[in-house]
């Protein structure tokens, strides 16, 4: 009599742990700091140690059981299902743990950086809300003079925290913050950029009316995605910041163009899966109409196929027929409905990148007055690093990227410690920021 043990739960647990290890390795290799399972920035040694521990735990747990070593267990189909379920569970767990760890980390960092929890807007700031454009905040005495700072933040909700943190670190400076509203991410690149430029122009106008226009030559800090306001193709004339005739513009972690397809990388917000979920309501819904149509077609096709798909393995007395039937129906109906209503057709026919960015895109280069000094700081970005493995200098910049930026009168530096979305995990960042702005 054959000794037979079908341990589905144990196998799924084994797959879950090992797939989690594999995902941690993949996240590290890709530099997806938003999915960092322990919060903050990814650390190679930590990730590799965690992945190794997960692999060892998975194999040790599973194969330490003699019933898993030399006894007939689940067969090919259920093994495949266990692998898929384990991988999906591991991805969900990684998303959850990355979000949780980052929330906890941010909570402590904000508390430490801000010395408590100031309300919004902080009482010592003057605040203006410009309908449809965003918020303007400035400290007492701000006039746009040479020692004053005008910061244009990213059009994301997290910019409030960044503004608070910067203000906390640059205490004593006269500061103004422009916090544009979030242009819909479903819009095209051009419409989003135009919307942002328009919003910033209106915020600058509101700031001028409220704070007076006597000052000029202020320092300007533009953070991440907000540097779209300098994109010359769509830059309105005069540019949104020219009213203040800035003496220096510091662009921190600007969008970069990915060589080959021109898609932009941008933004400073640390996008954990929870951040993405939070941003969804502001993006005008979860799914485009083509995707909704596809999901509807998939559901209908699935329901039509399901009875036959369950009946077939049942008649052939296949083991796990109640699982293989629906699984088969799910796969077959997906294939069929994809051909009926391809949700990617519009994007593919338009020749757009998958994330909706136009394939050809001008570089973000400042287009305002020539007597303004520009400093562009590129952060820890895979695109910025040189491709040659021999290049060990972490501050070296990919020559292709430099050529692509085609900056005529700007200084470009790369600061590997500057990690988008996790600025304050680098302790000397505020001092460095001060040096960049006023140095």
């Amino acid at each position: 009599m054959e000794n037979f043990r079908e341990d589905v739960v144990g196998t799924v647990l084994f797959c879950f742990l090992a797939c989690l290890g594999a995902l941690v390795l993949a996240v590290q290799a890709k530099g997806w700091h938003g999915l960092c399972p322990y919060g903050g920035r990814l650390r190679r040694n930590w990730s590799h140690a965690l992945a190794a521990a997960l692999f060892i735990l998975a194999y040790a747990l599973y194969f330490s059981d003699p019933q898993h070593r030399n006894v007939r267990n689940i067969e090919g189909f259920m093994s495949l299902v266990s692998l898929v379920i384990g991988a999906v569970l591991a991805a969900a767990f990684l998303a959850f743990s990355a979000s949780l760890a980052e929330e906890v980390r941010r909570w402590f960092l904000r508390r430490k950086a801000l010395g408590g929890w100031p309300g919004w807007p902080p009482p010592q700031w003057q605040a203006l809300e410009v309908e449809g454009a965003g918020e303007v905040l400035f400290t007492e005495g701000w006039s746009g003079g040479k020692e004053d700072l005008l910061a244009v933040m990213e059009p994301v909700p997290a910019s409030r925290h960044l503004a608070l943190a910067i203000a906390s670190h640059l205490r004593g400076r006269r500061l103004a913050f422009l916090l544009p509203a979030l242009p819909g991410r479903r819009e095209s690149t051009e419409r989003r950029t135009r919307a942002l430029q328009d919003q910033v122009s209106r915020l600058v106008g509101a700031l001028g009316e409220k704070a007076g226009r006597e000052g000029s030559g202020c320092r300007v800090l533009v953070v991440g995605d907000a540097s779209r306001i300098f994109l010359p193709r769509w830059l309105p004339s005069p540019g949104p910041l020219e009213a203040w005739r800035p003496s220096k513009v510091v662009i921190l972690a600007p969008p970069l163009r990915e060589p080959g397809n021109g898609a932009l990388t941008d933004s400073l917000i640390s996008n954990t899966p929870l951040d993405l979920l939070r941003a969804l309501p502001g993006e005008g819904g979860v799914a485009a109409s083509s995707l909704r149509a596809f999901l509807g077609a998939w559901l209908v096709t699935f329901l039509l196929i399901l009875p036959a798909a369950v009946l077939l393995p049942f008649l052939f007395r296949a083991r796990w027929w109640f699982l293989s039937g629906p699984a088969g129906a799910l796969v077959a109906s997906f294939w069929l409905s994809f051909h009926l209503r391809n949700p990617l057709r519009e994007r593919e026919e338009a020749g757009e990148g998958m994330d909706g960015e136009a394939p050809a895109y001008p570089s973000c280069l400042p287009g305002t007055e020539e007597d303004t000094r520009y400093l562009i700081v590129i952060g820890s970005d895979e695109l910025a690093s040189p491709r040659e493995p021999s290049a060990k200098d972490p501050s070296a910049i990919n020559p292709a990227l430099l050529a692509d930026l085609s900056v005529l009168h700007a200084e470009v530096i790369r600061e590997p410690r500057l990690l988008r979305g996790k600025l304050f995990s680098w302790p000397s960042f505020p001092a460095k920021l001060e040096e960049w702005i006023w140095g």
């Binding site: 080959g260 397809n261 933004s267």
Partner: protein
């Protein structure tokens, strides 16, 4: 035909004869022979392979390769079912005295199911990445050898499994439109993730 079977058995005896002489080697072979050790390791390696692209183009290629591996495994499983319904070859321990280091599987011996599945990884991934396909080859070859060493397959079963895997991978490549909706959707999802998690973080 009989001389092929004799040669197959002679080869089997040569390999299986090594069993039971060294406890360490036996232990290693029992581990490699396990139904789950190598196949799941290949599965986990495939997860890393799928997600290890350094840019959008590589991401797309590897997702395509991963879907092709899955397709090749499904095709090979179907072909294997067809073959085993016509060809019934008993396991070596049924007809001969062998050094059996493993449990007694009850299904037919020809072609080797594990060799077919594991070599499908190698043949399907080969056009997409040499490094990973070499890893897949090493694991598949080790498992196939261990199956003979432990006395549950003839070398001929393994050879047939390899041929079947190669044919399945070739067929899966020809059946690319079948896998196209899956790899296009997965590549799209990965690209969205890349855009939102990496680029927008």
């Amino acid at each position: 035909m009989s001389w092929i079977l004799e040669l197959d058995y002679a080869l089997f005896r040569a390999i299986n004869g090594l069993a039971g002489k060294n406890a360490l080697l036996d232990g290693a072979m029992k581990g490699l022979c396990n139904d789950h050790f190598v196949p799941f390791t290949l599965g986990f390696a495939l997860v890393i392979f799928a997600l290890s692209g350094r840019n959008r183009r590589e991401d797309g290629e590897r997702i395509k390769g991963t879907v092709e591996v899955f397709l090749a495994i499904v095709v090979s499983a179907l072909l294997l079912q067809i073959i085993t319904s016509f060809i019934h070859r008993s396991r070596p321990f049924v007809d001969h005295e062998v050094n059996l280091l493993f449990y007694r599987p009850t299904d037919w011996s020809f072609p080797s199911n594990p060799a077919t599945a594991t070599f499908s990884f190698f043949f399907a991934a080969r056009p997409y990445h040499r490094g990973y396909s070499r890893l897949f080859l090493a694991l598949a070859a080790a498992m196939s050898f261990a199956r003979v060493f432990c006395g549950v397959h003839y070398p001929g079963d393994v050879l047939a499994g390899i041929v079947l895997a190669a044919f399945s991978a070739w067929l899966a490549r020809r059946l690319e439109p079948l896998g196209s909706p899956f790899h296009r959707t997965l590549a799209y999802g990965l690209e969205r993730a890349r855009s939102r998690i990496l680029s927008r973080e």
